[in-house]
């Protein structure tokens, strides 16, 4: 089976472009041009150069010795937390802003939940001198004030989304509405592998640099390109798409996706979309999403603001239903414990999103000589307040 997108924009039965006609010309323009533009030599040269000199790539593949000893297996961490701005998000915003420039767009919009994608977008807009508008749920603005300040310092305008539940899904709705009202000059940088085709594929391609590097780095360290497992947390799923990408069609590499169980799958406060979701349409994509029996989209919960999205990218919905990916959900408590453990065993304070992925070693037993590459998608600075409150530090 092929786990990449097909020519109609679907991953199995998931994906497509369920958009209002108003957006059709822009999404169609992108669909027709994204492959061609991103394959151009001048694009690739500029993209690679910025990833190297500005983002700080390649990020290290670090053998976590003490963590490996504790769990009696071989754990490598892909250090996306060391990217400029503190997470993998910037790989995608660099790619999309170069694309936006080549499409002649002058105004950039984005949605953000925790603020990481907003910061990464504001950063590349400052870099390129383009106007930047970030939509952020009113409630998230209160929860994530340091990131709001960072975006403002970078010159972005942060507009509160006051509709619906006032969080990430509503910020995304507002960004889409802005795009409908400003089609000619505006480019919408989506932050995850979600939204209408071609966004999920495009974002996955920009993030695929992660697994491209893993292959080379693992060859150096272990004399093999393929680990036994790749592991990542999944909200919308962009860091996961990046670390799975070059292994999707290699059945010898196991794929493990970690979702946020929040206060527990059955607690009513969870973001474990694969377990709790049903097929539906969200933000222009047919995928698994959390909804009422009547088809109204519901509000997810996780202690990690980056994982509480009510849907999941169509690639991941396909990985789940086809059985190619093993999906695990981790509670707030177990994630927080794993975040503390990594801090004290390896001297790395992870983002709470990544802490969810780290928590699987308490859940799954691996063989001693298994090689596991876990995507450490972001650093924990932004989550310090949550850690402080949780552990009474």
């Amino acid at each position: 089976m092929n786990y990449n997108v097909d020519e109609k924009g679907y991953y199995g039965e998931f994906g497509g472009a369920y958009i209002p006609e108003m957006l059709y010309p822009n999404v169609e323009e992108l669909r027709q041009q994204y492959l061609q533009i991103t394959a151009e030599e001048s694009f690739q040269k500029e993209f690679r150069q910025l990833l190297k000199d500005y983002v700080g790539r390649p990020t290290p593949l670090y053998f976590a010795k003490r963590l490996s000893e504790k769990y009696n297996t071989k754990i490598y961490l892909k250090r996306e937390d060391l990217c400029h701005t503190g997470a993998h998000k910037v790989n995608n915003t660099i790619g999309q802003i170069l694309l936006a420039k080549r499409l002649g767009k002058t105004r950039i919009i984005a949605e953000t939940g925790a603020g990481q994608h907003g910061v990464a977008t504001a950063t590349v807009c400052a870099l390129m001198g383009l106007e930047c508008i970030v939509y952020m749920g009113e409630i998230d603005i209160q929860r994530q004030s340091p990131n709001v300040a960072r975006m403002k310092m970078l010159g972005a305008k942060v507009i509160p989304a006051t509709s619906g539940s006032k969080t990430l899904k509503d910020a995304t709705n507002e960004a889409i509405r802005d795009w409908i009202n400003n089609l000619i000059d505006t480019y919408y940088i989506i932050g995850s592998v979600v939204g209408p085709h071609p966004y999920p594929d495009m974002v996955a391609r920009f993030q695929s640099v992660i697994s491209e590097e893993v292959k080379k780095q693992l060859l150096e360290k272990e004399k093999r390109e393929n680990p036994d497992y790749v592991v990542a947390c999944v909200g919308g799923g962009s860091n996961a798409a990046g670390i799975y990408y070059h292994y999707l069609n290699n059945p010898k590499v196991g794929i493990i996706a970690v979702e946020a169980a929040g206060k527990g799958i059955d607690s009513g406060e969870s973001a474990a979309t694969s377990v709790l979701g049903k097929m539906g349409i969200i933000h222009g994509s047919k995928t698994l999403l959390m909804q009422t029996p009547d088809g109204q989209i519901t509000e997810p919960y996780s202690i990690s603001a980056g994982l509480d999205y009510p849907g999941v990218g169509p690639m991941h919905a396909h990985l789940y239903t086809s059985g190619r990916g093993k999906f695990i959900s981790i509670t707030d408590d177990d994630a927080m414990k794993a975040g503390m453990e990594l801090s004290q065993l390896e001297g790395i304070i992870p983002a709470i999103e990544s802490s969810h992925a780290l928590a699987i070693f308490e859940e799954l037993k691996f063989k001693k000589d298994d090689i596991i590459v876990l995507n450490l998608s972001g650093r924990g600075d932004k989550d310090l307040n949550t850690y402080i409150n949780y552990f009474k530090l």
């Binding site: 369920y18 209002p20 006609e21 010309p25 509503d170 409908i180 349409i281 933000h283 222009g284």
Partner: protein, 255 residues
């Protein structure tokens, strides 16, 4: 031929009203429809509220959120409408987003629409390609017309494709915008209305988005078969309730 197709053949300019079912009060649906017909509205769009209405501006979003809080849902709307054809003759359209219909079951939804006497559906986030390959046969089986949107940015080639897939009217969005965002029409918009009217499409065009008063209604019907008013009606009804319908419609028709 369904009721809507017959109405579109009448030799007159048509006025349609959109309202959100379940707003301002949960059980207003039937009274609003009856009152609109009584006041000479030619056909009605009944909005099935959705939690995430992407194509709508603040007015319709707010009414949808309230309607859902009031307890509106698909099954309840069908229940409210079950005897509507005993009292109402004008065409009725359900306008909604695709996800609630997908959850209800597309075939089941269409079947229910036919039983009640719904003539057409407007689903802004169900694209032409998906409709044609997956759902067209089902819509036709239950004698439902599907209404597509076009905008000033829609290419002539695509307008012609949409025209050939349509069986009632083409919903001509007045500008590239969400609902309810403007007060009058610019020369650019009237150019667009004129350009479309010159294409001599097989389906008549009804203009929507941004029509709020007598002036905007009048300027659209000089180019198109009719116009749809949504946000302005919702603003009115949230203040004045059903009692305000009669004078609102009179003000639009300037009668």
């Amino acid at each position: 031929m369904n009721r809507l197709q017959k109405t579109l053949q009448q030799d007159k300019k048509l006025l349609s009203i959109y309202f959100t079912a379940g707003y301002p009060n949960l059980n207003n649906t039937v009274s609003i429809i009856q009152e609109l017909e009584k006041n000479g509205v030619d056909f009605i769009e009944i909005g099935l509220p959705f939690s995430d209405p992407l194509a709508d501006g603040p007015t319709i979003q707010t009414s949808s959120t309230h309607a859902l809080k009031n307890g509106m849902n698909t099954a309840l709307l069908f229940d409210q409408l079950k005897d509507i054809r005993k009292t109402v003759q004008i065409p009725l359209i359900i306008m909604g987003y695709f996800n609630p219909i997908l959850q209800y079951g597309v075939e089941e939804f269409c079947k229910k629409c036919q039983e009640i006497g719904i003539d057409a559906l407007i689903l802004p986030d169900l694209p032409l390609e998906e409709y044609n390959t997956l759902y067209k046969a089902t819509f036709e089986k239950y004698n439902l017309s599907n209404i597509f949107l076009i905008t000033p940015q829609t290419s002539t080639k695509r307008i012609k494709e949409i025209d050939s897939s349509s069986s009632a009217f083409i919903y001509m969005v007045s500008s590239a915008s969400t609902t309810g965002t403007q007060n009058d029409f610019s020369a650019k918009q009237t150019d667009y209305f004129e350009r479309i009217s010159k294409l001599k499409l097989k389906n008549p065009q009804i203009v929507g988005f941004g029509i709020s008063n007598y002036e905007t209604f009048l300027s659209t019907i000089s180019y198109a078969k009719g116009a749809i008013i949504g946000s302005a009606f919702i603003k009115m009804i949230s203040k004045e309730g059903i009692a305000g319908i009669s004078s609102f419609i009179k003000s639009i028709r300037n009668s």
